[in-house]
């Protein structure tokens, strides 16, 4: 216990933050491997542009707006919790949850439209990557929403102020999910 305390004070980086960064570091090869494989395979083969033309660019753009905005709202929630303002913290966490849910609803609409038109994961290599990467990303969004929802309820109860590091850790994860989308959007919708 004493050793642990001494180590923690020497590093002076909160354990929650360090742990979250380690977790995010383990996520980088997961998405990075998929993205690297997609880029390399796409550079090495033709015919991808035709498949890309079938994805719904407008919905992808709206989802980009939602995720970028949610990144701003969750960092606002962190600033609010540090200012010891529970109402503002709750409001921004609630907004983040709503924006995340909006993202998932739009993604579900996209999937249903694409499946209706016959574009399923087995329709070709582009669609395998498309469903694999966006599906994995959507699962991460869902996990982030769950965490943010718990924090939101905690904020509404007024007991989040003494646990501001939780908002920071949740925020780090949420921003990471946003960064992944920043790369998925041009890879799958713009090129």
């Amino acid at each position: 216990m004493t050793t642990h305390t001494a180590t923690a004070s020497q590093t002076a980086i909160p354990s929650a933050k360090t742990g979250t960064w380690w977790f995010l570091a383990s996520e980088i090869p997961v998405f990075g491997g998929l993205i690297a494989s997609y880029v390399v395979l796409r550079l090495g083969g033709g015919g991808w542009a035709e498949a890309v033309s079938h994805v719904n660019f407008s919905l992808g753009l709206v989802n980009t707006f939602l995720l970028l905005t949610s990144s701003m709202t969750i960092v606002m929630a962190f600033a609010a919790v540090q200012d010891n303002n529970p109402q503002r913290t709750g409001a921004f966490l609630g907004l983040t949850v709503l924006l995340g849910l909006g993202f998932l609803v739009i993604k579900a609409i996209e999937y249903s439209t694409e499946i209706t038109h016959g574009f399923v994961p087995s329709s070709g290599i582009f669609w395998s990557f498309y469903y694999g990467m966006t599906g994995l990303h959507a699962l991460h969004v869902l996990a982030g929403i769950s965490v943010n929802l718990v924090l939101w309820v905690t904020a509404l109860r007024g007991s989040l102020a003494q646990h501001s590091y939780r908002v920071e850790a949740a925020g780090l994860y949420w921003h990471f999910v946003d960064i992944i989308w920043i790369f998925l959007f041009p890879l799958l919708y713009l090129t």
Binding site: S26, A80, H175, I179, L190
Partner: protein, 90 residues
């Protein structure tokens, strides 16, 4: 503290949206190769804006950078290792 941070975060958000607009516009007005270069440069800039400002990386210690950058280096190495196989030896 609150107002200064709010303004800063809002400014970054506006920059992010403007950069999305740049990417979208590039696809319709630039030749394909130039558009690709611009789109992915803009994506890297957006990711850096989020990481440095929203994830507060610009205030972090070297150890946090190391935790984040080491796996990223491996991914880039993977990309370069696979690249010749797929592109030149099909």
């Amino acid at each position: 503290m609150g107002n200064a941070y709010t303004r800063h975060y809002l400014t970054i958000w506006i920059w992010l949206l403007l950069l999305v607009l740049v990417s979208v516009t590039a696809t319709s007005i630039l030749p394909k190769l130039q558009a690709l270069f611009l789109i992915f440069s803009v994506a890297i800039i957006k990711a850096l804006l989020v990481a440095r400002n929203y994830m507060h990386l610009k205030h972090e210690r070297v150890i946090i950078y190391a935790i984040a950058l080491v796996p990223l280096m491996f991914v880039i190495m993977l990309c370069f290792a696979l690249f010749p196989d797929f592109v030149f030896h099909r």
